[in-house]
């Protein structure tokens, strides 16, 4: 098939927009999202400005959180270049460069797409080529979209589509592309430590880069790509990247919970959407509760799913999860314990694929027995709580606060005199839930 370039003679939004009357809403039926999430009732689209970070940026969550978010420079050099909001100089943080408002224009010479399936394969190959680990394409649905204004990191997404309702946007842009990167498995084992932070933050920067490059590429193909419009988790679940777990994270069959859900791309590029998957997360989460047991703030529920805003799912308490952060800021940035202990979070190797394959090919009524067996194996071989000692660069998750010992093998430097610390001595692996009791009030 030859590649043809054709001039667009009609506006990008086609003929739907002109004739459509927003009053008569012919909403598509609620989408099937797999077994882990169900849309059961009326859903009010979430305004992104009411989500944790924007709330905190306005100071609505109290002084300690506000100061942590706005006025805290990290002691750790790698955190200062890789974590949002804790830099000494924001120019050192790549995401502030990448996540600016897109200045690029849509290419007027639109590439004709004769075969959406070929384009789907192409977009996925492109995303993988740029460095994404998992790519999923979801059919857009109004319930996936944010209400109100758009969420773009620097707050300047003033385009023609900003004032449009979710229904109108979905009609014009029927597909959502979610591409994501996986965290490094070995570094994640040092969760609640700067090493774990680097697993999280560095792959987050990579993911931001890949999605921005993909957004630019779609514009170069001659199609529109909108960011800051779609709820990432909804796109991930609907696009078959994974299922929603008890810990509120999307769990992938290869990487488990150690993937990001970055801001996806809403587009009018003709594609073929993926289906939600069943990899047994639903059956596993019903029984396992490892994340709920180990969560330092009891933010993960032990009980059943609840219906929240018309959606049946496990509902985590984001506020208690969030409130911990200012108090542990010297030791770690992102807790990550719920992702590290999840039995699905394993190296992407054959025995992990085999276990997930066994689970997902198992008939659903038999699965609880298999889950009990797999969980027993997981507890036995990998531990109820992951607490392996990880060393990377100057960091060592075995060092406690106050201990300034240099544990780098073969280091003969004196490390004395100037009174300030060796790189990497900040960091404290806190294995016990009791350590956080004094920070968080429990009901």
């Amino acid at each position: 098939m030859a590649l043809t370039l054709e001039k667009t003679t009609k506006p990008l939004n086609g003929n739907n927009g002109a004739t459509h009357n927003p009053a008569q809403t012919d909403l598509p039926p609620p989408p099937y999202l797999g077994r882990s999430v169900r849309i059961v009732g009326p859903h009010v689209n979430v305004d992104m400005n009411q989500s944790p970070h924007p709330k905190n940026a306005r100071g609505e969550l109290g002084k300690p959180l506000f100061n942590w978010y706005r006025n805290t420079v990290s002691k750790d050099p790698l955190t200062r270049v890789s974590a949002p909001n804790h830099f000494a100089d924001r120019r050192q943080f790549l995401t502030t460069v990448i996540n600016r408002d897109s200045k690029g224009k849509v290419n007027p010479n639109r590439i004709a797409v004769d075969d959406p399936a070929a384009m789907t394969r192409h977009i996925k190959a492109v995303a993988h080529y740029m460095g994404a680990n998992v790519v999923g394409i979801a059919k857009a649905h109004p319930t996936f979209l944010y209400a109100g204004s758009r969420y773009v990191q620097d707050g300047t997404a003033q385009d023609a589509y900003e004032t449009q309702s979710p229904e109108e946007l979905v009609r014009k842009f029927p597909f959502v592309i979610q591409a994501t990167t996986a965290w490094d498995y070995n570094k994640l084992q040092a969760h609640r430590h700067h090493i774990g932070d680097s697993a999280y933050h560095v792959s987050q920067m990579k993911g931001v880069l890949v999605l921005k490059a993909l957004e630019g590429y779609i514009k170069e193909l001659g199609y529109t790509a909108l960011r800051g419009v779609v709820t990432p988790q909804a796109a991930g679940v609907a696009g078959g990247i994974g299922e929603l777990g008890r810990n509120g994270l999307v769990i992938n069959k290869n990487y488990g919970a150690r993937i990001h859900m970055p801001d996806p791309i809403l587009t009018d590029l003709p594609l073929v959407s993926d289906r939600p998957v069943d990899i047994g997360v639903e059956d596993f989460c019903k029984i396992c509760r490892k994340c709920a047991n180990t969560c330092p703030t009891n933010s993960i529920p032990f009980g059943d799913k609840v219906v929240f805003n018309g959606i049946e799912k496990y509902k985590i308490n984001w506020l208690t999860c969030y409130k911990l952060r200012p108090y542990v800021h010297d030791h770690w940035g992102s807790c990550l314990t719920c992702a590290a202990v999840c039995p699905f979070t394993k190296p992407n190797v054959w025995w992990h694929s085999l276990a997930v394959w066994t689970l997902r090919t198992c008939p659903i009524p038999v699965r609880p027995a298999l889950v009990h067996a797999l969980k027993w194996i997981d507890d036995r071989f990998w531990g109820v709580m992951r607490n392996s000692r990880v060393r990377w660069l100057s960091y060592d998750s075995g060092i406690k606060p106050g201990e300034h010992a240099c544990t780098v093998a073969g280091c003969t430097a004196s490390h004395e005199g100037k009174g300030h610390s060796v790189v990497g001595d900040a960091g404290y692996y806190a294995p016990l839930k009791e350590n956080t009791n004094r920070f968080v009030k429990r009901a």
Partner: protein, 198 residues
């Protein structure tokens, strides 16, 4: 290619051969450069050096940490060259070579030569290289040492000085692992005490 849960590693899915859009991705230059991430990173200003110097280990260990971080960020080959002892230093047009004692050279594998493939896909190695050098040089500045990552016409010569490979007749870098399919990213010049290779 998969057989149930098992990957068959010797049967590769070569989707690019049957992809009608792949040539556009690799070879068609972007109509608007603002759509490329490479342009965004290139035009970004450099940050400040952190006022307090971090206490370092020995130069050998610092070098291994720089290399470890570089490969974690996605470098395929990394080396450190000493700038003062470089025989080609006289040819170098850029000033300030003498004030920076070391150069960190990162190279990424390039399936298509970025000099001949101007498409967004052909520039992916450049994009990866810019990501690595941006974060790595920012990290060195946060350690309290000066570092600057700039496009350098002598990058391939410095790569040879850092022991990554040799130059062929056309002046291209040839490495033992990737041959000429390698892109040398921006050179990071720094005064971080390192132990040069090569």
């Amino acid at each position: 290619m998969r057989l149930g849960p098992f990957k068959i590693p010797w049967v590769r899915e070569d989707s690019q051969k049957h992809d009608p859009y792949w040539d556009f991705f690799i070879n068609t230059p972007p109509a608007d450069m603002a759509n490329t991430v490479t342009e965004m990173i290139r035009s970004a200003p450099e940050g400040n050096v952190f006022p307090t110097k971090a206490e370092l280990h020995t130069p050998d260990i610092t070098s291994s940490h720089v290399k470890e971080l570089a490969s974690y960020l996605g470098t395929d080959l990394v080396g450190i060259a000493q700038l003062t002892s470089l025989p080609t230093a006289g040819e170098s047009k850029s000033k300030g070579d003498d004030t920076y004692p070391f150069a960190v050279i990162c190279a990424v594998q390039a399936d298509y030569d970025p000099r001949k493939a101007p498409g967004i896909g052909g520039q992916v190695p450049v994009q990866k290289g810019l990501f690595i050098t941006f974060v790595l040089s920012a990290w060195i500045r946060e350690l309290g040492f000066r570092a600057t990552a700039v496009l350098d016409p002598n990058a391939e010569k410095l790569a040879v000085a850092a022991g990554l490979g040799i130059l062929d007749a056309e002046g291209r870098l040839v490495t033992s692992k990737f041959g000429t399919r390698i892109h040398v990213a921006n050179v990071i010049r720094t005064d971080l005490p390192l132990a040069p290779d090569g």
